[in-house]
């Protein structure tokens, strides 16, 4: 609207030039005039999509994820058990509660907060239709992770990581491939000595990461670290279950929102259900 007024003013100022500038290749004056015409047609669909996308951002816990887990659940799944004192990583010290008989104990209060923000972030990504990739190089839990990913309609990679998967994607997969929007590491280590290459590659490609970091892992490159145990089957199953429930919830909420918006005309305010 403001742009239209401006062009009108400018056109009035430069009346003798209008004939000269009226050729087929339009200059910037006429470009703005045409742009004003197309805007009203786009507002219908984009405004609705924007509304659907921005609605969850208004509440801190739109998807009510705090009801999915409690401190007792984490304790029962043995999430607080870390490795021995000798394996401790220096950067994990702030997340540790203490050490008992040489074994590090992870602070579950901090884990609760970190897990809440990580699950919330995952839910928002899934709500916006992002691609989530589950990565874990632990041979014991590879099948569980792949099944989890298959169940919630997302993707998994629990096999040998070829070097250029993220950084050389057009050559590896074909041009026009879409990279993951979030990578969830259920174990950030390849083996006890090496960190998973995906952590560094995701940081290079500006892909946010959620990672379960044990007391021998390096949490620095992970966007949303979750200090917790990655060696016990009970703990891994708990994480997989939590991620699956979050993603399914977020996707269901999105479908619900789209149905509601589709049935009613745009502009009607929707209360969060």
């Amino acid at each position: 609207m403001a742009a239209g007024v401006l062009t009108k003013g400018l056109c009035g100022f430069r009346q003798p030039r209008i004939v000269a500038a009226g050729y087929s290749c339009s200059g910037p004056l006429y470009a703005t005039a045409t742009a004003v015409k197309t805007l009203p047609l786009q507002t219908d669909s984009t405004a609705v999509t924007d509304k659907i996308q921005n609605l969850p951002l208004e509440t801190p816990d739109f998807f009510h994820l705090s009801e999915l887990f409690s401190l007792k659940d984490l304790f029962d799944a043995r999430v607080h058990l870390g490795h021995k004192k000798g394996c401790r990583h220096r950067l994990m010290e702030p997340y540790l509660f203490g050490s008992r008989l040489g074994q590090d104990i992870i602070d579950l209060d901090q884990t609760m907060a970190h897990l809440q923000s990580a699950l919330n972030f995952t839910a928002h990504i899934a709500y916006r239709g992002g691609i989530i990739l589950f990565v874990s190089r632990r041979r014991q839990f590879g099948h569980v992770v792949e099944s989890t990913a298959g169940d919630c309609g997302e993707y998994a990679h629990t096999r040998y990581w070829q070097g250029g998967l993220l950084t050389n994607a057009p050559i590896q997969y074909g041009s026009g491939v879409r990279l993951p929007d979030l990578i969830v590491f259920l174990s950030t280590l390849n083996n006890v000595f090496q960190q998973h290459v995906g952590v560094r590659d995701a940081a290079k490609m500006n892909i946010p990461t959620v990672g379960v970091v044990d007391s021998n892992c390096n949490p620095s490159l992970v966007t949303y670290p979750v200090p917790g145990n990655d060696d016990t089957p009970a703990a891994m199953e708990l994480y997989c279950r939590l991620f699956k429930m979050t993603i399914n919830r977020a996707k269901d909420k999105r479908r619900q929102m789209e149905l509601l918006q589709g049935l009613s005309p745009p502009g009607l305010t929707q209360g969060s259900s």
Binding site: R17, H143, Y155
Partner: protein, 386 residues
């Protein structure tokens, strides 16, 4: 400058013209004349890096067009040859092409060819993701989705079998001697066959891992639950003995069964044998007794061996005729002829045992030719140091 090769001269002038409006009227006239001229670009920019392009990719529409063209061409060819287009088979196509385009070339791949595009163009995969960019397969980001999905499915089946076993153990119905999958007479898929099945290249290591996982599945006692899945990755071995042609028994005027062993070669010696049933074990070669014809024990043993092996030493009467070669090769030729003649009297299983004993295989060894520059086939001339 090189990067802007495609842009016209006109666009440069136009951009300059927009900045100062005083020159608008003057420059616009010029641009109209100048717009069509392209900047001269060197051929180096258009040269493609062929090495980096990879194997040629054929799109789905291209393959579909090729299939249509092939079908139309097939009908035209049938009309040309004066045959019915509806019942024109691939064999007819090959025959017609060989007739219309006679080729004096030896290499089969150099001769003109008309085959269905599916056989000509290698099988390729369609684009793996949808309109919104999301890949279809949940293991897409691993790079080898079909192979890893196969491994995942196999492992799921192994877990299901173990769960079934645990349930049976819980009900006390677990037995060690459950029905096993019969693997006799079949082999695992070869690496090439697996690659063809998955439409994906896999390494030797991957293939070994796959076979390992399948063997692990088969080691479980109750694996017969997943028999269909396992058999999908096995191929039947061809039974060699079925290729053997066994002639039917013939009967002479007294009702005695007889059969002939056709002339067999062993190093230029040929022999024929007429075996008669219900005899006393007498052997005559070229009219003379075998003891007189073959004074050496080894040759007589060669004659005996097929009969001794099947345990029918005294049953048959033999009339043999042999020519060419020396005594040892004549004995070998006769042995093969006797074995062949005996086949009509034996059952399938006995034929298989004879084949495995090597009695039915003709000996391919012949005298090796002498080469120039050497004294014999292998012997070199005496080497002199100086």
């Amino acid at each position: 400058m090189a990067a802007s090769g495609g842009r016209t001269v006109g666009s440069f002038l136009w951009k300059c013209g927009n900045c100062c409006f005083n020159f608008n009227t003057v420059s616009s006239n010029l641009t109209r004349q100048v717009l069509s001229r392209q900047l001269c670009v060197s051929a180096v920019l258009h040269r493609k890096n062929l090495a980096a392009a990879g194997p040629e990719k054929f799109s789905e529409e291209f393959i579909k067009k090729q299939v249509e063209e092939f079908n139309i061409g097939k009908r035209h060819l049938a009309n040309m040859m004066g045959e019915d287009p509806e019942t024109f088979t691939q064999g007819d196509i090959n025959r017609s092409i060989a007739y219309l385009f006679p080729s004096g070339l030896f290499d089969k791949k150099a001769k003109p060819l008309m085959k269905h595009p599916d056989e000509v163009f290698p099988k390729q995969r369609a684009v793996q993701w949808g309109a919104d960019g999301r890949p279809f397969h949940f293991l897409f980001y691993t790079g080898k989705q079909s192979y890893y999905s196969l491994m995942h499915d196999t492992f799921t089946k192994a877990l299901a079998v173990e769960k079934h076993q645990d349930r049976l153990r819980g009900k006390d119905l677990f037995t060690q001697d459950a029905k096993q999958i019969s693997l006799v007479g079949s082999r695992w898929l070869l690496k090439e066959e697996l690659e063809e099945l998955l439409v994906e290249t896999i390494s030797e290591h991957d293939y070994a891992r796959f076979i390992q996982l399948m063997e692990r599945l088969l080691s479980l006692p109750y694996c017969s639950v997943e028999e269909d899945f396992v058999q999908r990755y096995r191929r039947q071995l061809e039974i060699q003995s079925s290729k053997q042609q066994v002639q039917p028994l013939q009967y002479d005027q007294h009702g005695v069964a007889y059969s002939t062993g056709d002339g067999k070669q062993r190093k230029t010696a040929t022999g024929t044998v007429l075996l008669r049933d219900s005899g006393s074990g007498s052997i005559s070669i070229n009219g003379t007794n075998y003891v007189h014809y073959f004074p050496v024990l080894q040759d007589r043993e060669q004659l005996m061996f097929p009969l001794h092996f099947m345990g029918v030493l005294g049953r048959f009467d033999m009339q043999c005729s042999v020519s060419g070669g020396g005594h040892s090769s004549q004995a070998g030729a006769l042995r093969l002829a006797i074995s062949r003649a005996m086949l009509s009297f034996l059952s399938e299983g006995q034929v298989e045992t004879m084949r495995q004993a090597g009695l039915l295989t003709p000996d391919p060894r012949i005298k090796e030719r002498k080469k120039p520059g050497q004294e014999g086939a292998r012997r070199k001339f005496t080497w002199k140091k100086r």
